[in-house]
């Protein structure tokens, strides 16, 4: 399998393949591109599937086992699909003091899924996460990479409704 961009064999979009070609040249050693590459791949594919891992390993020049070894260390990297909108509710100390647990419980009820669950339509997934760096604006949650702060149950309802509407807007 060739992994040169523009050639058959890459499972990534031409833009991402080109980005990866550049990424490995930025660092004194190629392997430094591994973590950023995995994140970008996950953003595009949705999760780190076996073909993704195989191609990343080949691009970096390490074994698939090496790649998996790194993936298992980082909490943002996943080898199973999440929902299109991954709702990550912080319940760490600053959020806990201002109702983070209640926000998490509310999301469980609202979405009808447990922690780490995915809705049957694949639209939402829910995760209880550690501190996301929004302590002074707690309680907070992240949906994919977007921050939502100073939350109340009503406010998170609005946030979820907004993503639902945005999804309908994309015509999917």
């Amino acid at each position: 399998m060739s992994t040169q961009s523009g050639q058959p064999g890459t499972i990534f979009s031409p833009a991402l393949a080109a980005r990866f070609d550049k990424l490995v040249t930025l660092y004194p050693v190629k392997r430094s591109a591994l973590v950023p590459m995995l994140l970008y791949a996950q953003d595009e594919v949705g999760y780190l599937s076996d073909p993704v891992i195989a191609e990343v390993a080949q691009r970096i020049g390490i074994t698939e086992l090496d790649v998996r070894n790194v993936i298992s260390y980082y909490s943002l990297l996943r080898t199973k699909p999440a929902g299109k909108y991954n709702v990550q509710v912080c319940t760490n100390i600053s959020c806990m003091l201002r109702g983070g647990n209640e926000i998490l419980e509310h999301c469980k009820k609202k979405l009808g899924i447990p922690n780490k669950g995915v809705t049957p339509d694949g639209l939402f997934s829910l995760e209880e996460v550690e501190c996301i760096g929004a302590c002074s604006w707690a309680p907070a949650a992240q949906v994919n990479y977007d921050f939502h702060e100073n939350l109340t149950p009503e406010k998170i309802d609005g946030v979820l409704a907004g993503y639902k509407a945005a999804n309908r807007g994309t015509g999917k």
């Binding site: 050693v29 298992s72 760490n92 100390i93 003091l97 550690e130 760096g133 302590c135 604006w137």
Partner: protein
């Protein structure tokens, strides 16, 4: 968009350009941007380090090591390339300050890296952001691109004949990577497992080369030191604790927020004046003064100046500047448990005292909170924590043990109230906790 909070006592140094559109390079230049790098070029390595030492700046990541001294440890002659590394892996619970810097003043970080690079004659710098701060990567990448376009980065920076490159990237979710040697492992594309020291990063760091690694706030402060002068900067703070810092006020306050205040600012005043006091007319119960890893302070212990030495004398640490305020409705056992759940989740498992210790502490605290513990368990918790201290490669083990010891010591009565099936007097235990009893 996160914003900085203000109070009449605030002294904007690092936050001088916040909210002024300084993400645009022209605006940054208008607000004295990149003048400090030019000044540093004239001063040369020894001059830069001298100015840094005069500023009494101490590391804003948590340990409070004098920055100028840290830079001076880098050998002049080295067999491998030297590097500057910015630790923007802000993950200490209670801390949300670096985010504001990257969002509002990305060029101050770049300029700080350039100056640090000139100080140790490095040719390359890395800015490492935590994975959760993905939106900031776009801001940083744009800023770096603009700096290249102006000739402030790349070949022959500022026409000086010196080359300097910067690469920005994010991590992928790991508290431990905020530890310096784990961060270097992560940047080398590996699991963020800490390295044994010595050798210290100043001698053998990233890719085996001498490396300066500083917290994002520390680096962003550097250009301001050259803007106002090291001695002037030092005067803003207290003895051996120069300048100002961003304090992140969170928890049960009327006005939580990130405020820039002088080093040594009184903690009591910070809570009651700057933060507006406890919300809903409740009483103060406890304060975690510097992020989740710092030992708790009681209401009678908070009449202290917030600098590294004074908070240390009070039996805690200034840490990362995350001031978490707890009112009388908080169950300390539940709070200790939540803290330990975090450290258990984040322990990489490399050192046994940390891996096993955090797991056992989590289990013990869970059982205690749900009412299934006996008297002896409280001493067991203390004993476990004591035996983690100083027995791990990186400070994560200490970070888990220190607050636990503080909670047990200062709130023993509250631990005892949970014993013998009584359960939590404050809250119902969460479902998954009672399942363990």
């Amino acid at each position: 968009m996160a914003t900085i909070s203000t109070h009449p006592d605030c002294v904007p140094v690092v936050s001088y350009r916040f909210g002024k559109g300084a993400t645009a390079i022209d605006k940054y230049l208008e607000l004295d941007g990149y003048k400090s790098a030019r000044k540093a070029l004239e001063l040369g390595p020894d001059g830069i380090i001298g100015e840094m030492k005069a500023s009494n700046l101490r590391g804003r990541g948590g340990a409070g090591f004098p920055t100028g001294l840290k830079w001076s440890f880098v050998p002049k002659q080295a067999p491998r390339p030297k590097y500057v590394l910015v630790n923007g892996d802000e993950s200490e619970p209670g801390t949300c300050k670096d985010r504001l810097i990257f969002e509002h003043d990305p060029h101050s970080v770049i300029e700080g890296v350039i100056i640090a690079g000139l100080a140790i004659q490095a040719k390359m710098g890395f800015i490492y952001l935590r994975g959760e701060y993905r939106y900031l990567l776009k801001i940083m990448e744009k800023a770096v691109e603009d700096a290249y376009a102006k000739g402030f980065l790349g070949k022959n920076i500022f026409g000086s004949g010196i080359d300097f490159d910067i690469v920005t990237q994010t991590g992928a979710g790991a508290y431990e990577v905020g530890e310096e040697s784990a961060l270097m492992e992560s940047l080398e594309g590996k699991r963020g497992v800490p390295r044994i020291r010595p050798p210290f990063p100043a001698v053998v760091g990233l890719y085996g080369g001498p490396t300066i690694i500083n917290n994002a706030e520390t680096i962003a402060t550097v250009p301001h030191i050259f803007r106002i002068g090291g001695a002037e900067y030092a005067k803003l703070g207290t003895e051996r604790n120069g300048g100002t810092r961003l304090f992140c006020l969170s928890g049960h306050l009327q006005r939580p927020g990130v405020y820039e205040l002088p080093m040594g600012y009184n903690l009591k005043r910070m809570i009651y004046e700057v933060g507006g006091g406890i919300r809903d007319g409740k009483k103060l119960k406890a304060v975690v003064p510097g992020g989740s890893s710092t030992p708790v302070l009681l209401p009678e212990e908070i009449d202290i100046g917030m600098d590294f030495d004074q908070v240390g004398k009070a039996g805690s640490m200034l840490g990362s500047g995350g001031v978490v305020v707890l009112d009388e409705t908080v169950c300390i056992v539940e709070f200790a448990l939540r803290t330990m759940k975090f450290y258990q989740h984040e322990s990489c498992g490399w050192c046994i005292p940390c891996r096993e210790g955090t797991d056992w502490l989590k289990k013990s605290l869970t059982r205690l909170h749900a009412g299934g513990a006996v008297d002896k368990d409280i001493d067991n918790i203390r004993y476990l924590a004591e035996n983690m201290l100083g027995r791990t490669f990186c400070p994560l083990g200490d970070a888990a043990a220190m607050p636990t010891l503080g909670f047990v010591k200062k709130f023993r009565k509250e631990f005892e109230d949970h014993l013998e099936g009584r359960g939590c007097p404050y809250h119902k235990a969460r479902e998954e906790e009672t399942a363990l009893v």
